[in-house]
Symmetry: C2
Subunit: 327 residues, 2 copies
């Protein structure tokens, strides 16, 4: 295992301390590192809380700040945070207008966020993201996995929350964005969880995992490495076949951590051409490492159908450590 770490046991704590120090103008790290929250809260606004296993940075803590999340709970690498963390986060950022949990569909996360919602007692609603079209149910999931589309839900719902939309309205908006968002990933290499010390899966030098999950879960099939165009085509076909509609879209090409930006833009180029052939109009774009799997090589493609309202919310100001626009 080649990593820039001190000990596997202290990776998360030291990384969070660095993150909080680097972005002290935007975020605060809570006691016992239970959660990351905005340094400055807005009373009277619905509070957005997310979280999940670490190793997907910048998701979620990198999206805490004006226009997106109010707090994020980091679990150990690829491990759900605890209900205790979620409850503490919800209580710390509660502005009196209710709490919206945004949760990726993994069994540990959904169970723990449900428990935290019960413990919180007050007004809590949950948006569950499940944008991954690759497989139905998986190693850690019943139903579809929540992957990079989660970022789009967090951005759009976060913008609406700044506009003082109420809890039920945000829940409905989040569900609508999720229902119009689809993703699929491909891995060229595995990743290594520090505490495991060995690659999560084995893959040959000429193979790729088509439809991989963001923890290295199996996808649809293990096949020979193909051209970028062929890979993008298979992913775009799977995504668009699954969408009920076509039209204005946001195209996100998300790196898993080990693939150079140069290749991500090349994949974007291919995916965009393919999408436009299928009758989609790419109105907004995002290319980079946003929902990663440690140092896994590969990427995911996400297509989200947009309308006037969601385009406006996507363009609204956001100021977080990992995502800044228009402010």
């Amino acid at each position: 295992m080649k990593k820039l770490i001190n000990t596997p046991e202290t990776v998360l704590a030291e990384s969070l301390d660095g993150f909080a120090a680097a972005h002290a103008d935007i975020v605060t790290l809570a006691e016992d590192r239970k959660f990351v929250r905005r340094a400055k809260l807005t009373p009277g606004k619905v509070a957005l809380v997310s979280g999940g296993g670490s190793g997907h940075e910048p998701l979620h803590a990198g999206f805490v700040g004006y226009g997106m999340l109010d707090a994020a709970c980091p679990g150990q690498v690829f491990t759900s945070p605890t209900p205790d963390q979620m409850l503490a986060a919800a209580q710390a950022v509660d502005g009196g207008a209710g709490i919206l949990f945004i949760v990726k569909n993994y069994e540990g996360d959904t169970m723990n966020f449900d428990m935290a919602a019960e413990m919180a007692g007050g007004e809590v609603m949950t948006v569950l993201t499940n944008d991954d079209v690759a497989v139905e149910s998986s190693t850690y999931t019943t139903g579809r996995r929540g992957v990079a589309g989660t970022l789009i839900v967090e951005k759009i719902v976060g913008a609406a929350a700044e506009n003082n939309v109420d809890l039920a309205g945000l829940k409905a908006l989040g569900d609508r964005v999720n229902s119009r968002t689809r993703s699929m990933g491909v891995a060229l290499t595995s990743c290594t969880v520090p505490e495991a010390g060995a690659p999560t899966f084995q893959i040959s030098d000429d193979e790729m995992e088509m439809g991989v999950g963001i923890h290295g879960e199996p996808g649809r099939r293990r096949v020979k490495l193909a051209s970028a165009d062929a890979i993008a085509n298979e992913m775009v076909a799977a995504i668009t076949d699954d969408l009920a509609d076509k039209g204005d879209a946001l195209l996100l090409v998300n790196g898993f951590g080990g693939t150079p930006l140069m290749e991500l833009y090349l994949m974007y180029n291919s995916a965009r051409a393919d999408l436009e052939k299928r009758g989609f109009k790419v109105q907004r774009s995002l290319v980079g490492n946003y929902v990663t799997s440690l140092e896994m090589a590969g990427c995911s493609i996400t297509v989200s159908l947009m309308d006037e309202e969601t385009l406006g919310l996507w363009d609204a100001p956001v100021h977080t450590p990992a995502f800044r626009m228009n402010m």
Copy 2:
């Protein structure tokens, strides 16, 4: 070679096309893909032009836009752009107040930018960056290599250019920032140039290259992998021993492309503590993949001494594909 590409020969062209399409609101790709320039130029402003071999994305094209560069010339991977590209870029963005070339110290780049400056005839000055303390002279360099500190020069000089500082003033500012900026890198793995098809260098599973260059050039020594604290300590010591001064500083922890953000923040945490012990005060921070070496695992640490003027210019609005602040 596991890469998301179609053919090694078309990687750059397809990647640039994707980049230009994704960021059409900010940049325009010139004919024959000679350069990337701002979509909207500012007449009367000194034009900042940079460039270099590709494979370091987002450097340089990702830094074209308000508050930073006016144009960037992409060479083939790890290969200097041609004087013809630089001349075309300079002519396209010339706003009548002169051209400032910002050039990393590599023989191909300096030779070609010098030739372009001569061909341009008009008022052209050059800031040469050489912030890498690792070695004196290297595979492609006489003197010190220009590495991640180049981003800091581009940001600060870019902000001053928006304030209508004249060409000589920007040249002096750029030289001053470069003279107060030092970097050093470490590699855990090699990278593979698409056209070469094989890793640039071989390295064992338990070794690292301390002081590596951003093309995989040899550093100071090949040693056994050490703890993040020990690595950060060696790099910070090399950097600070070479700086004539201490005080307010900007700390940049830059990923080379294959190292997860989690580890970069951990390295930041370690480097920051070390710097503060040595009497530096970290006033600004940047952590992420900014000056990469394709998919190389590893990172560099850069320390830049700041004063009231440069802090203000660092904080000034910038709006580029890869770097946005305060607008």
